[in-house]
Every structure is written in C-alpha cells, then in structure tokens.
C-alpha cells in the first residue's frame, strides 16, 4: 500500500493516490497532495474542494464531472459552473483531481 507523509504522520492512499480512509482527511492532506501535482491551492480551489465534501456528505457519492459542473453552476454561478473554469483549476480533470484533494473516492462513472 502507498502512503503520503503529512506533517510527520503517515497516511495510506490507494494506487491512484486517493485516501484509503476518508477520515484521515485534513486541509494539510489536500495541500500536500496538490503540492505533489505542482498545484498551489487558491480560494477558488478550496471552493470546489469544500463543495465536493459537502456533496459527498449529503449524497454519499463523488459526482461525475457533468453533474459536478452543473451543481457548481447552480451554487456558485455560471462563470464557475463550466468545464473551462474547472479544468483551469484542476487540469487533471476537475472531478478526479478535486475529489482526490477532498479525500473522497474516485468518482463513479465519467470523471
């Protein structure tokens, strides 16, 4: 099993880098995962990460990218609820990459 080091604590992740146990998540986990991808988290990133965590809490699922885009648009406005904006923030795929930083499993279906 792979792991990441977060402030001296070893946290288990799966082969694609998603947390093995969702309860291990903290903001530091997100920052360290992002750093490994050469990505510095801004408020705009956090907005999406926090949105995903709330979404998972409510529906127990990481949304497909199409659903994420639509839901973000509803909550944060059309200038953010579009693929271009989300891909600029998360170039590896907004659902996939943001879910990873949010400590969620890989989304079901189209990522």
């Amino acid at each position: 099993m792979s792991s990441i080091d977060v402030g001296g604590k070893t946290i288990a992740v799966d082969e694609e880098g998603y947390l093995s146990d969702r309860n291990d998540w903290s903001k530091d986990v997100a920052v360290i995962m992002a750093k490994a991808d050469d990505c510095e988290l801004t408020d705009n990133h956090w907005e999406v990460i926090n949105f995903l965590r709330e979404y998972y809490e409510e529906y127990q699922i990481a949304p497909a990218v199409r659903v994420l885009t639509k839901a973000i648009g509803k909550k944060l406005g059309p200038d953010k609820g579009n693929s271009k904006y989300l891909y600029e923030l998360f170039p590896y795929g907004p659902a996939k990459q943001a879910c990873k930083y949010a400590g969620l499993p890989k989304p079901t279906g189209c990522v």
Binding site: Y59, I61, P63, R66, V67, G109
Partner: protein, 130 residues
C-alpha cells in the same frame, strides 16, 4: 473507445429499464445496479428504474448500517435527479405487502400496479434485472 465517441455514435435513444428486486444489503445487487445506473447516465438514454419485491427496501428512509460492514448508500438515490434519472417506479403490491407508503421512501416515486409494471417493461428496449 472514449465515452465521447460512444455518445456521438449513439444517435438513437433507447428505453432502458433497471429492475431492482433485492434487499439493499446482504448481496451486492442493489449497489451494483445503482452504480450501473449512475455510470450509464452519461449515455443520456431514456432510463426508468423499477423497485419491487424486497427491492422496495432500497429506498426505505432511515437505514442504519452501522452494525454491518456496508456503507449506507440510500442517500445516493437522491442524487439520481441530478444525473437526469427521474423515472422511478415502485410496485403497489410489493409496497402493500411490506406495509410501506410513499412517505416511507427517500425519493419521490410513482406507484404502479403489477399490471402497469409489466406493461412498462413491455415498452422497453432493454431490461436489466438486479
């Protein structure tokens, strides 16, 4: 083949029906069915879900799985609407046999009699039973 290519090729929309007949836990059928529905939603087909027999329990409110090793995935049925899966049917006879009404379920459904359900199945291009 990528998802995009498949969607472009599939010009015609087919009627897909998922029939859910088993209790939510104890077997993986209910969760597998739900995942297939969520994944299949990307193909933008005409999707209906039928819940009958013990499958009705999949939609029951207030599920508590804390004593089992399984995740309570019943909240996920409430996400179906966002995946544009909006046709959910329950069989009247199965509901009555279990003393359940629509108020006991986590999502809005349409109640159909056994006869209506079989007519609905007849109209489908694809019926997948879980």
């Amino acid at each position: 083949m990528s998802d995009d290519e498949m969607m472009q090729e599939g010009g015609t929309i087919k009627k897909f029906c998922y029939v859910n007949r088993k209790a939510p836990y104890g077997t993986v059928y209910a969760l597998e069915s739900l995942e297939v529905v969520l994944i299949g939603a990307a193909f933008e087909q005409d999707v209906s879900l039928i819940f009958m027999d013990d499958g009705i329990y999949q939609l029951k409110k207030n599920q508590d799985t804390s004593d089992s090793d399984m995740k309570n995935f019943s909240p996920t049925y409430r996400a179906l609407e966002m995946y544009d899966v909006e046709k959910l049917y329950v069989e009247k006879e199965s509901m009555e046999a279990r003393g359940l009404t629509e108020d006991d379920l986590v999502v809005p459904v349409e109640v159909k009699t056994s006869k209506e359900i079989s007519e609905l199945m007849d109209e489908q291009d694809v019926v997948l039973s879980f």
